[in-house]
Symmetry: C2
Subunit: 206 residues, 2 copies
């Protein structure tokens, strides 16, 4: 027996860890840290976030129908953890973290975090209660990347973002690239050109 | 202006990268590599996977209503990439990768990959067409972890799994832990005990 059975659970890993901003007219914007999020469609670009009904952000999400996903870099991890355990009912999380609110494209009120390496402005399309969490399925209607991620030729260098991942209760840094999408079937000249992005040997395809 | 606007897109990162197995009676089981997957609920434990309708796995998913998520370790990355670009219509992916099919708990036919560090057996609850992709929302009905991840005291050591992540077209390894969930508000004695799991200093909470 190769596997030891465990109780059914949320064993999927690693997951993203992101800071999600929401805002309601006349109130300060709020933040919630989420790892229960993912990409669900490419065209149109869509994501999901799952939030407990008792969280302060839940009301803001259902009432405004919009949110901003802010990607989290390694240096933001302590603040992301803090925003995951504090409530916006009690504290101003932007102030607590020293974050600045930046206007996000296509959003009425939900701001981006200026200190984040990239953001996705999202409009809720479906709200699906599932149990402990409600899933919000949303279309990505805007994105922005920090100027410091752009290289001289105007290419986005996501490797400069130093994003954090979440894996079984731990915030992890991403280390060296193991390969680029399609490297297992890439031609030798492509592999040679992109060798810095590939640690693994392409498999022997027998 | 801190952000450079890009076209709306699936910028969320890092995401998981997993091998999803399906099987239909009288046929060999199939595999598909997915990064468009995530946790969507804790109780009951639920996940989503998103699959293009033209993929061979799409028919198996809609007809069988079950699948197994196999987590991908660094050494499986070349095979995961290969399973992402080949079709089960043309090749036997288990054979191609040298993977063994292992019975997965609560699944009628969908197997786990014996070489994977952990698996989640999933039963489809909702099928939601979104555009290029259809989202399958599923309950996790079984899990198993490789025996080699268990330590002497029976604790699961997920850090031994050496999981891969996917980030903007690159397969990445996870590096050192930056902190454990809740470390930003942990008591000094907890921080001292878990110092090996925490690279970051807890934030100054002002």
């Amino acid at each position: 027996m190769a596997f030891v059975p465990l109780n059914p659970g949320t064993l999927l890993a690693p997951t993203p860890v992101v800071l999600v901003s929401t805002a309601r007219a006349g109130e300060r914007p709020n933040l919630i840290t989420l790892a229960w999020t993912g990409i669900v469609c490419s065209k149109p670009p869509m994501v999901s976030i799952s939030v407990r009904q008792e969280r302060y952000s839940y009301g803001l999400l259902t009432q405004t129908g919009e949110f901003v996903i802010n990607l989290v870099s390694e240096d933001m991890v302590p603040w992301a953890d803090l925003c995951g355990v504090k409530s916006g009912r009690d504290v101003d999380k932007f102030a607590l973290c020293g974050f600045d609110a930046e206007t996000a494209g296509q959003m009425k009120l939900a701001p981006a975090i200026r200190q984040s390496p990239a953001y996705l402005g999202c409009r809720v399309e479906r709200t699906i209660p599932l149990g402990s969490h409600t899933m919000f399925v949303a279309e990505v209607v805007s994105t922005g990347v920090a100027e410091k991620l752009m290289d001289e030729s105007g290419k986005v260098r996501f490797d400069r973002a130093k994003l954090a991942a979440y894996s079984h209760g731990m915030y992890m840094s991403l280390h060296e690239p193991q390969g680029f999408f399609g490297f297992s079937v890439a031609r030798p000249e492509v592999l040679a050109r992109r060798s810095a992005e590939t640690r693994k040997n392409p498999p022997d395809q027998r």
